[in-house]
Amino acid sequence: MKTRLKELRARDGLTQTELAKRARISRQTVSLIERNEYMPSLLIAVRIAKVFNEPIENVFIFSEEELS
């Protein structure tokens, strides 16, 4: 899974702390997701996508191999 978190944060001018605050999660979790060390739960993924006002599949991108 790839995430566009860093790119979207840069687009919206958000720091990890600010994104964490808006998504009601910890900064550590944001950092883990960005480093691809943790695949977020559905609830966290939805909250993050909501912050960026993007559909969830535009934030977290799965390869065909992962989905098949």
Partner: protein, 225 residues
Amino acid sequence: MKLLILYIAIFLYGIYELLSGLKMQSFEGNILIVSNLAVIFCLILARLNIWKAEQGSLMEVSMEEEDSHQVSLERKAYTAATYIQIAMSISFTALLIGFLLLRDSQPVIVFASAILMVVSIASFIPSEKIVKITNPNFKFPDPQSKNYHEEYFEQFDDGEKYVMLKGLFHLYQLVIWGLVFLAFGLMFYSVFTGNSQLVSIIGIGALLMLIQVSYTISLKPGKLK
């Protein structure tokens, strides 16, 4: 900062006491004074890191630097927690050994270890200032709550729980192997010195069983309703 200065003053006084009575005290007494000094030194390092984290949190940094600044503050807070845990462990061990060996001859050293253990435990109670740095969204549950521990755990999000789980899994393996090697070590020690450690070996065996059984039971699927 006041507490930090107090710890440094006590540390310096402790070194003075150690050096002035070095030849008069027993070997065990000197070792336990050094242990107590190590505890104070750890508490000084912990306080220093807490102070640095608190000062750092007051600094204003640019947006580009904010993430790395936040990470460095969190690292300082966790370093402080690590030093407090080391202080707690050393003071606990020093208290037990001191009580065994020096309770009649040098009770003051044992008393000092006991005080240092209480101070270490008190230092470990998370201060709101530090928690605001490491986990700004964290809300302490009501201390009167019957489900305090469950509510406390639920304050962590899934990412933090994942990190905790990974850490605990490594710790589980470390504890199991540590206990196995310790039991073997005690067996050889008993054989070669004639100083039986039977009770310790039985205690380790019981602990090993308890840890493994409780872990496996926690994995066991619940009955279907």
